[in-house]
Amino acid sequence: MTTVNVSLTVNNEPQSHAVEPRTLLVHYLRDHCRLTGSHVGCDTTQCGCCTVHLNGEAVKSCTVLAVQAEGGDVTTIEGIGSVERLHPLQEAFRRHHALQCGFCTPGMVMQGIDIVRRGCASDERTVRHELEGNLCRCTGYQGIVDAILDYAQSSAAPARSRRE
């Protein structure tokens, strides 16, 4: 079986692993980097639990090959904060009780950061539209939307010009 060496920067640390070309980025992260915060919920590009940032943009790591990301810069849920020092959006999730079972949370947080980065957290309707690719089966969307809006308004999130 052929393997290729895939080298990435993950959460500011260099990673290099020999994997099969068919290895998905989410499996590279979970099985080779041992970063199991990114979840595989549906494996069909629908639920968004595997959302990570690739070169600064939110993608579904179940629908990216690790080799496609070769040389790239990946940020996962483990890279944005720690238990001692939560990311401001994680703090907002806690304040707004934006999680119940927690399975979708890593993807929601990574997508929420991306929404705010793109200046798309202007109002509730826009945030809901931007969360189309993330499913919460506890249906706790209200708290999630509130947390993202709160983070967008209260944090020092840079007010960037709107780009997708």
Partner: protein, 270 residues
């Protein structure tokens, strides 16, 4: 590790010439653009390539150029780039609107126009714009008119090893697009693109049938009068339309009228 995909080799060429050579020399090779259609297809084992030729490093396949008469979009241009490009928003607002609504944000960061057009999934958005605007597909060896490009379910006029480099749209301000999409996957259940030309109207339906198609009856009706009232007596038959777990052929037939009316309203508003 769970992985349903059959094993394949991978190459990332730097030039069109190198990519075409790789695609030509390996009979079961496939081009990989953003992978947002292809990777799900591989997971379902609906395709079993022996080699994926990733074209992300080919500069010639990138970029957006807008002139007084045309909008040219490189095949590797991501949906997110099209959605926020100020020149496209001005030249072809319906195309920008379409790009902004493809699937969901994470997919728009990876998925590309060339990949969508070459894959020709009935649930894809871009084929409707390409056909509706009468665009021209530029490949490594020729130019193909949209009317001759989409040939069937996941089928196009592309020859083995032929690579889409860019897509050239004529500027027609009066266009509109509306789709009813599956809420989770974002795939088009039924959609309609309407463009008013100087000498007629193009009406294109996607999602509803195995392949995107021009709706000649609706084109005639709207050419006579470019107004929603022209559809008053129209009823879409369900014969030949897709039926699956998401929607019956009868429902899709109903949505043809709904989406054409909404696309028309958008065209009239521009």
């Amino acid at each position: 590790m769970s992985n349903a995909m059959v094993d394949f080799d991978y190459a990332r060429p730097k030039s069109v010439r190198e990519a075409v050579a790789l695609l030509t020399n390996e009979p079961e090779a496939m081009a990989l653009a953003g992978g947002q259609s292809l990777i799900p297809t591989l997971k379902q084992r609906l395709a079993r390539p022996t080699l994926l030729v990733d074209v992300q490093d080919i500069d010639e396949m990138r970029g957006i150029a807008v002139s007084d008469t045309h909008v040219v979009v490189g095949a590797m241009t991501r949906h997110a780039e099209v959605a926020v490009d100020a020149h496209i928003a001005e030249a072809l607002p319906a195309l920008a609107h379409m790009a902004h609504g493809i699937a969901h944000p994470q997919v728009r960061h990876m998925g590309t126009m060339g990949g969508s057009v070459a894959h020709n999934d009935p649930g894809a958005d871009y084929p409707a714009a390409v056909l509706g605007l009468g665009a021209t597909i530029h490949t490594d060896r020729r130019r193909i008119a949209a009317d001759a490009f989409f040939t069937g379910l996941f089928a196009t006029a592309l020859e083995p090893g032929e690579l889409v480099l860019r897509i050239e749209y004529p500027r027609h301000h009066r266009s509109g697009y509306c789709k009813i999409a599956h809420p989770a996957s974002g795939l088009v259940n039924t959609g309609a693109w309407v463009t008013r030309l100087d000498d007629g109207v193009r009406v294109v339906i996607n999602g509803a049938a195995p392949c995107v198609f021009r709706h000649q009856e609706l084109e005639r009706l709207l050419a006579a009068r470019f107004d929603p009232a022209s559809l008053d007596g129209f009823r879409q038959p369900s014969e030949g339309l897709n039926a699956d777990m998401h929607a019956s052929a009868e429902y899709r037939a109903q949505l043809v009228t709904v989406t054409v009316k909404r696309a028309l309203a958008m065209a009239l508003s521009h």
